[in-house]
């Protein structure tokens, strides 16, 4: 936290601040010393906050016009699109907003993986972030069910059926989740309720995420600890606010491109057909952002095994800070890890592609190889690399130029540990 004690100038301000130190908080947020070498991959935290607020605001308006009933939901969405003033804009912002939210969160997560932001002392930030990500997936899945189109209905059927894989009590749990003997009106109603609840849980976790971030401060591209405040840091405002603002505007340009000129390319055309329990679509595919996990699920011939691996693929991220044995944070100084990082990223993209393809032939083979490699990366590559890899020399500070050989890597490492 900031070193100096903030004292409001006005008497009224001081009176209020003594009772509720909101002004101290504002002062902390504006002065918050931030490493000056943060690159644009660091702007996605702000972008994600924007995404969350956009989803909440558009969602509240949509909920004023939406009807959560199996017979009326589809029609009420068309009512929003046709009769509500700017309803089409609000709905397209909300539906494309979900995709943009995930695009941003994936960049945010992969940034953390590259620069080792999940490592000590930032494990708690990482874990809270993963909890947010899990809630995001739950919210997105339930939101996709609400228009009650064919993909809504059948996607909900596939996903809720996963729970029936649990031995002994699986079927009872599934029936309990549905509130009926299949996906039906009670399911739609509870999904709407939960879809409205989850974003506010996310807001709470975001506050904790940022709070936890402000204890050690930001990681940075070279991954070394930074003395705060120092010539290596800049105050959050105006330096980071303006930079985040610029990046956010660039992001909004892409966002607007989708909303105004291609609002349906990220969705599935089948979802404009009203849900029909008697007709199964030829291919049931989830939204693009869930495809890698869908590929992992389908790569296992056994249902329970598939479910375990799918949940495992996300849960394994929670222990990543302890699976990664390297003391060096940033991949910039880890020549071998850097290559494994890109292979891992390509593997995830490949899995996503396989998730969109039918589970047969070469696609299934690729999914299986990809799934095995996904787990190998975390269970073997990450722990072993920390011991075998010879890392490059690390600079002593952001401002000091790196003179090759000036700092022994072992020395720098020790220095890092000490801090």
């Amino acid at each position: 936290m900031s070193d100096h004690e903030y004292v409001p100038k006005s008497k009224a301000g001081k009176w209020f601040n003594d009772r509720l130190p909101l002004l101290s908080l504002a002062s902390h947020l504006t002065d918050y010393p931030t490493p000056k070498n943060l690159n644009y991959w660091w702007t996605f935290g702000g972008i994600l906050t924007f995404c969350l607020l956009t989803q909440i605001i558009t969602g509240i308006v949509l909920a004023m016009h939406y009807v959560a009933h199996a017979d009326l939901a589809f029609g009420s969405v068309e009512h929003i699109m046709r009769d509500v003033n700017y309803g089409w804009l609000i709905r397209y912002v909300h539906s494309n907003g979900a995709s943009m939210f995930f695009l941003a969160v994936y960049i945010h997560i992969f940034r953390s993986l590259f620069y080792g932001s999940y490592k000590s002392p930032r494990e708690v930030i990482w874990i809270i972030g993963l909890m947010i990500y899990l809630l995001m997936m739950a919210a997105a899945f339930m939101g996709y069910v609400l228009p009650w189109g064919q993909m809504s209905f059948w996607g909900a059927t596939v996903i809720t059926n996963l729970f029936s894989a649990i031995p002994l009590i699986g079927d009872s749990i599934t029936t309990w989740l549905w509130g009926a003997y299949s996906v039906d009106n009670p399911t739609l109603n509870r999904f709407f309720s939960l879809h409205y609840l989850i974003p506010f849980l996310i807001v709470g976790l975001v506050v904790l995420h940022i709070w936890a971030l402000h204890i050690p401060g930001n990681n940075n591209p070279i991954g070394i600890d930074v003395k705060k405040p120092s010539k290596d840091t800049v105050p959050f405002h105006p330096y980071i606010t303006i930079k985040d603002g610029f990046a956010l505007l660039m992001f909004m340009i892409i966002f607007s491109g989708f909303v105004f000129f291609a609002p349906n390319v990220l969705g599935h055309s089948d979802n404009y057909i009203q849900a029909n329990p008697m007709v199964t679509p030829a291919h049931i595919v989830p939204e693009w952002y869930l495809l890698p996990f869908y590929a992992i699920l389908r790569s296992v011939p056994d249902k329970l095994g598939g479910v375990i691996l799918m949940f495992g693929s996300i849960l394994i991220l929670f222990v990543l800070p302890w699976l990664d044995t390297s003391k060096v944070r940033s991949a910039v100084f880890r020549p071998i890890y850097k290559q494994f990082y890109w292979i891992f990223l390509i593997n995830v993209l490949m899995l996503g592609y396989m998730g969109a393809m039918p589970a047969e032939g070469i696609y299934l083979v690729c999914s299986r190889v990809g799934t095995v490699y996904y787990f190998l990366h975390f269970l073997v590559v990450m722990p072993v690399l920390g011991f075998l890899e010879k890392t490059d020399p690390i600079p002593m500070s952001i401002s000091d130029p790196v003179l090759s050989g000036s700092v022994e890597p072992s020395l720098a490492k020790k220095d890092n540990e000490k801090i």
Binding site: K36, I242, K243, F261, Y272, H283, Y353
Partner: protein, 261 residues
């Protein structure tokens, strides 16, 4: 160790994700590509084509296909066929609408009003299936958005009726259409030359009617399209200007710090 540059990664993503078509074609052929006037950043509907397309819908399609999410008033709204208020009233009044119950508890029919929804040809889905050999003629309100390929696909289906190839087995009440999945369709060819007489004198060829009705259905599915394009261009111009200004301010502010941004 710059084996994988950012550019290469982005290129890879583009190559991998561009060809993704969620549904894998089961022996379907690519629909005909038409250069629709409503595609592109500033695309608009061809007004006379929309009006003719409505005529095709009314005189041909509407005998089987409902359009339950549209109201007659929509026909006069901006960005649509833009019939005059008189015309909209006349169109609505030409249809019988079931209303009620009245004070005696009886349902009654009355001439349509602009605020009425489009009258459906059948009272319910089961009735429509019973009348069409077990196949449900889909509601046309969002049909263009509900089919992969959109407008091109709808146009292609209308143009895709051909002589049945030798050795191709068709049951009774099933027709050959090369753009349909499995090349079989339960709808007989709805259009033939001069099946209707256009009020504006345009020659009613199958191709002309297919284009007109597809334009009309595209509007029906996305009545906001013109407003969306118009607003979108304004939003983009505004955002690009603001981004430029913010970029310049950022450069100025960061010039105080000895660091690259």
């Amino acid at each position: 160790m710059k084996k994988f540059s950012l550019k290469k990664i982005i290129l890879f993503i583009v190559i991998v994700f561009l060809p993704i078509k969620p549904s894998i074609a089961v022996e379907t052929i690519e629909p005909i590509k038409i250069n629709w006037s409503f595609k592109g950043l500033t695309g608009k509907f061809d007004r006379p084509s929309l009006q003719r397309g409505f005529q095709v819908y009314k005189e041909v399609c509407s005998s089987c296909h409902s359009m339950q999410y549209l109201s007659y008033r929509n026909l006069g709204e901006q960005g649509g066929p833009e019939f005059s208020l008189e015309e909209v009233k006349a169109i609505a009044a030409s249809l019988e609408v079931i209303d009620g119950p009245d004070s005696q508890g009886e349902m009654f029919t009355r001439p349509g009003r602009p605020s009425d929804r489009f009258v459906s040809p059948y009272p319910n889905v089961n009735a429509s299936m019973a009348a069409n050999g077990g196949a449900y003629p889909p509601d046309m309100s969002v049909l263009v958005k509900a089919r992969t390929g959109g407008s091109n696909y709808i146009y292609s289906i209308l143009m895709g009726y051909e002589e049945v190839p030798e050795g191709f087995n068709l049951d009774d009440g099933v027709y050959y259409n090369k753009y349909m999945s499995g090349k079989k369709i339960k709808m007989s060819s709805p259009l033939s030359n001069e099946i209707i007489e256009y009020t504006d004198g345009t020659q009613a060829t199958v191709d002309q009617m297919a284009k007109d009705v597809t334009t009309f259905l595209s509007w029906a599915a996305e009545p906001e399209l013109e407003a969306r394009h118009k607003t979108g261009v304004k939003v983009l111009v505004y955002l690009i200007l603001l981004t430029t200004l913010v970029y310049l301010s950022m450069k100025r502010i960061w010039s105080r710090i000895d660091s690259e941004i």
